[in-house]
Subunit: 307 residues, 6 copies
């Protein structure tokens, strides 16, 4: 019998991390940090479960031919060892504790030499995840998102989803931040844009990506260098991934996003990733959850080929 | 030309309250108080707009024959004066300020002798609304809800939607609390149920209401006495009002809810009401928004007949 | 960290069954036996994953007050030990092997004294599940379903979902079969109805249940005697559980089904259960999956109180 | 090969009516009469096609056991001959011509001794259909509808869907009109209600039907006498049939409607029927279309047993 | 407190127009002119309310950074004064009166020097709107639409949505008509296409726009000259704006439409605009309403920069 | 009166084929061949009915101007004679018989010189359809599909939808197979890809088509030569046609598919076509069904121009 893991991957118990030291581990973090007045971005707590549920349909196909790669997902030898580490324990009434547990879970993985692929949760999740890397080498952060997330605080909350990239920019181990998919209006004021640019961030709108192409963007990233990926699902166009709260027309196409993730994983060195902001209750025929599954598969294929 | 008001009612400007002193005013409060980790109950901020939007289709019928009353909605003379006071100004980043403004807006209405009918917003909204009544006569609170909302605090938050009825119970001007529609599981622990009963609250499950009937419940309320109604939409069955986050099968039927609201308004004296927890993004053919519209119409009809 | 189990229950590995011998185990069987021409009843393979995914939202509430019980779900001492045993391994291209593995998995549980609660999968799943009981004491089968499922064969297929109850009737260890929820038209011909009655089955339409009441039906079941429950989700009304292929208006109400499951578990002795026919792609706001979760909770509560 | 007919019934060509003189014929009339300003009740033009499409899934079951009848749909000997006569030819730009063709098509059927079962189209369709009966014996009209449809005219339009019952009341061959399912507000003013009652119509709200029961209502209809049925789908509750424009909570239950149609057909003499107001684009899992199919099946079963 | 206006803009009372003379006013016209037989294009009456409701979520962001502009929406000084003038009063039973009131409302605005941005309503709405400009300077009409709308009459109706561009072509104050987005089949016969071309209209299919680009099209419009925009939402692709009746695959992309509106407003002189054919009941996650909101924002930004 | 045929085309009775010998006939084959364990691809049995139902809305427009052709659909003289031959009779319990009847129906058409356009049904349907061509001239097969369908067998089933192209490749009368739209993962293993290439198949991913263009692909097909088209709806992108089970992001755009079908029909000689895998229950606003209707119209237009 098999547990309900991502793509039917082996489940990894808490105590098995050090002894098994897999290459990559899927980790669910089904929560986040809200603001003092309800906005529209909750409902993400069901994200990891919905992504795993949708991935079950592809479990039998995981070693079949992937036409996007013209090969199976994993071809390396010895095989890339990928596991599902389950969800970080969380409680709706313990935000700080949740963040601490999330940071701790990622830190354990890093100690064991495991690359974490996080399934959120809202887009504040990358803050504790990135904090777990403190003391590590410096890495680039590649963010796919419709929004800048560079507010210093909102209503006194400093670790909310509108501040993710500003918090990241403040961390010693975070180098350049590349932000792609920007469009429309959101929480960012023009002063925040000025600040982000002053911090050295590279801002690329969804339209610029369409004009310049994914390969141009890949060229902006350090070949062979370490990169952490923050993938907010609303970076994609609503016709690709409708199940998000911060819905914004004019987003990335499916191929653009897949090429970007696959390309980063092949050309740079992915040290971790977080996929955030899926709201399953808004999905149609589970297509948004499927898109996340496929993005993770592209990422795994790239990591596999880059060993 | 007419503004986009509830049922096409006259819009009331801020300064017109004292001079016009209408009998009843619709007031949108499109926010609430979330918890430190995202749950599933946000998305209510679109509630007032969706309710007003759906009510527009009935605007031309508002003085037609209402078969649920065998008469038009309003029959009294002079006519009941009902207005739409718009929305309380709010900002996603200012929870405390939002609560203060909500309380202040309601207090102004009460000073002018206006009965407020509040459209939420999440189910923490009744806390500031009820606070605005401080100093008034004591009144009964009738809550329609699947949940008890009697936690003392959740994650240090004391004014969240899981504490609404406990906060109400602590107010001097709140008398007995009658809670109807309870079922399934939620944030309430058995100790909270014990506390609620110890506080004198009357707890009635959805099933008990079906067994005993609405008239029995009306008999528990003070004839001619003041009552404030808290109507959390998840008190209704999902087949009646699917667009809620805290969805719970086995809820109140449409007629039960309508008879309850109409009956309270006719037999007691409604001093205010709040309709909460509509999540428009989850609605189907706008039927949940329509149900709220009809509930408000039943309430207005009862108030009209009770003068 | 916790695996993505039903209600956050402990995950049970293959080898842990004998040593831990829990009281009850959840077991996913995400497949079934189709007919030689596509009908409309597939899409159930996603069922177990969707049910587990929806149950995650209730995981924090599982020991809270359940108003349908006026107590928490589990109150017995020592606590009822319930685990999630994951999914039976299956492959889309190995129907016979799947059935063998399903039967074997259930048989292992029975040998270890564990009561299996199966999440399907289509409504042919109960056939291998019931076969695993061969050699056991005789028990009653209680089927909730809109359909009779008493065809001897369809297109030469004898173990398909239209033959489930006929296959059950042929097993030595199956005693009386009680079939409730029947209505409308389906694969059953009048001759099949004659056969079912001749076999001693008690047939109760959804309307008869409404007239006679759940307590009457419970009186037809052996007090203290062993009962296996087959719960085809289309036994419920479409307004309660829309996500089924064999949709049929006029079905059981939510309370009727909950009272029936809870009542059987408290008054008889449940030796196993199978919940079948959820098609997640047809669900709305995941309400059908939630209904299955709640039915399982009612069943667990009854088992807990019946020790 | 078989045409795409209702339930797979034989298709009847224009010229075959007189020679074959079937007992009953299904007839699609996919249009209606709108008002000079767009309301919300269009989209019905797809109705007949959607009803036929959904009925195809039941075609193989049409002679199986119907548990609502405890027998197959048709049991009489010789067999009731039912055919599908296709759709009346219509053009979106020829309202008067459409009405004339509809009336003419029905008149041809009546001349051939065929009972027409009409699939609409909006609820103005019964006007030309009923006109086709001029010169026939007097019959009762049983209307199932949330609305009164008794306006003399709306914006100068006299044959629109808000005037259907008033037009019927003016026809010499129409006797008493029984209107059931009334609730909420609509186009009817209180003066229209007064007029309807003055015309001798029996008005029964949805709630009165629930209180008094279907059998009481059947007792109001002439035993053995001729009855024409106008079934506006919005007479049903939205949880039963969501796909209507004039949606109104609190409507008839599925069993109430089925018993009413089956009962009328068995006890009275059905001279024709029209099912109107299905808007397929608003349907969910095609359940509303299925409900219409089942209503027609109940009607056919009653007609079959009443020969 | 604030009224439920578009983007939270100030509400403008009837009498304030002349004294305040804002630059631009939003005006809802929630009706239209149907044909004598129901087609499929109704349901638009809810359009203005749905657009305003969706815009509320962006109200707090309206002065934030718009990445599509790399600046906030409004940057001019003194600030562009934009107000919401509410809805034209209409009645479902008074088509001619509605048209008269619509024309009169627009005429009042024009007299006060206000540019009207109309939210429909069906696509016949531009006829009375354009009539209000009689006596003004001649202007170009830019129509975005899948359909030609150049029938002389349909069923005797001359002011319906299939005749909008022909009626416009007949007006003295209308100069060249540029029609973009054409594709598929609709009410237009080849003779209508011949007529439109003979009238000097420039017809551009959706595919031609993709090939030639938006800048080419902008070059066809008079630099600095007056232009009225008719934006039928079905001009967009269904994946961008699913909530239309006249749905037609292969339509304009989101960026094409946004660039077109923004470009026209910046390069020409927009004298008015009408957005039509949104059917909220068909929307998914309100994305179509959001697209309209964003189109209006692009238009306002262009007007602001073009002063 | 007219039957519910595709686009309102004349219905063709069984006996009329030889005497009328139309040029093209629409033929519904609403079934297929499933695997021994339920996958996710059923629900297609409603396909032909849903496609016909959606086509009814275009029936009045079928001879209007088609802007994708800049002319009406049919312009040839004498007119192309297209009929609707209804559905092949099938039974859910007779897979082999269904296949035999499907093959026989197509064979009769071919004998009468009629080009069949088949509406499925699942993607195993082309196997019996192609078998009906045995003895005919050799032709190219053009498959549009996300999947390779080149498994030799799955679970012992050789004629299932994962083997369609392998079965085709084995037929003497099938020449080269061109497979376009491939992407993602499915049932195909890398060995199957090797086999398909070894068999001489031309494999083109969806991305290659975007890069090389439709005209390049048309150049790979034999000018003037015979071609049979297998159009699996999941070849299209989910944003174009969401109603499929084997949903796969990154698929063909609407224009690519339309140009391909129209181009093949104009440049080659279409000897038949099959459209498969529509699952109506998963559709949104019937847009997927509409896309199939439009694809058939493009095909008919090409055939018409190629005489």
């Amino acid at each position: 019998m098999s547990a309900s893991t991502f793509l039917g991957l082996p489940a990894l118990g808490d105590t098995q991390l050090a002894e098994q030291h897999p290459d990559v581990a899927i980790l669910g973090i089904p929560f986040g940090v809200p603001y003092p007045s309800p906005g529209h971005t909750a409902g993400c707590a069901d994200g990891p479960a919905a992504i795993r549920a949708r991935s079950r349909r592809l479990a039998n196909f995981a070693d079949h031919h992937d036409f996007d790669l013209d090969a199976p997902m994993l071809v390396g030898s010895p095989p890339l060892r990928v596991v599902d580490a389950g969800d970080v324990d969380g409680a709706p009434d313990d935000g700080p504790g949740n963040a601490t547990r999330a940071e701790s879970a990622v830190r354990s993985m890093l100690s064991a030499g495991v690359v974490p692929i996080v399934l959120g949760g809202d887009d504040s999740i990358p803050i504790p995840v990135l904090r777990a890397y403190s003391g590590s080498e410096r890495f680039t952060v590649l963010q796919v998102d419709a929004h800048l997330d560079f507010r210093d605080e909102v209503a006194g909350v400093r670790d909310g989803y509108s501040s993710t990239m500003r918090r990241a920019a403040e961390m010693d181990h975070v180098g350049r931040i590349v932000q792609v998919g920007l469009r429309g209006v959101g929480s960012a004021r023009t002063s925040d844009v000025v600040d982000a640019r002053a911090a050295g961030n590279l801002l690329i709108t969804a339209r610029e990506l369409r004009t310049r192409g994914v390969n141009w963007l890949l060229g902006q990233l350090p070949r062979g260098g370490p990169v952490f990926i923050v993938f907010d699902l609303d970076g994609l166009d609503p016709s690709v991934a409708p199940a998000v709260s911060g819905i914004s027309p004019g987003g990335l196409a499916y191929d653009e996003a897949g090429d970007l993730l696959g390309g980063v994983a092949e050309r740079c060195r992915v040290v971790g990733a977080a996929f955030t902001e899926l709201v399953p209750a808004l999905d149609a025929n589970d297509v948004s959850a499927l898109v996340v599954v496929r993005m993770v598969m592209r990422l795994l294929a790239g990591v596999d080929r880059n060993r």
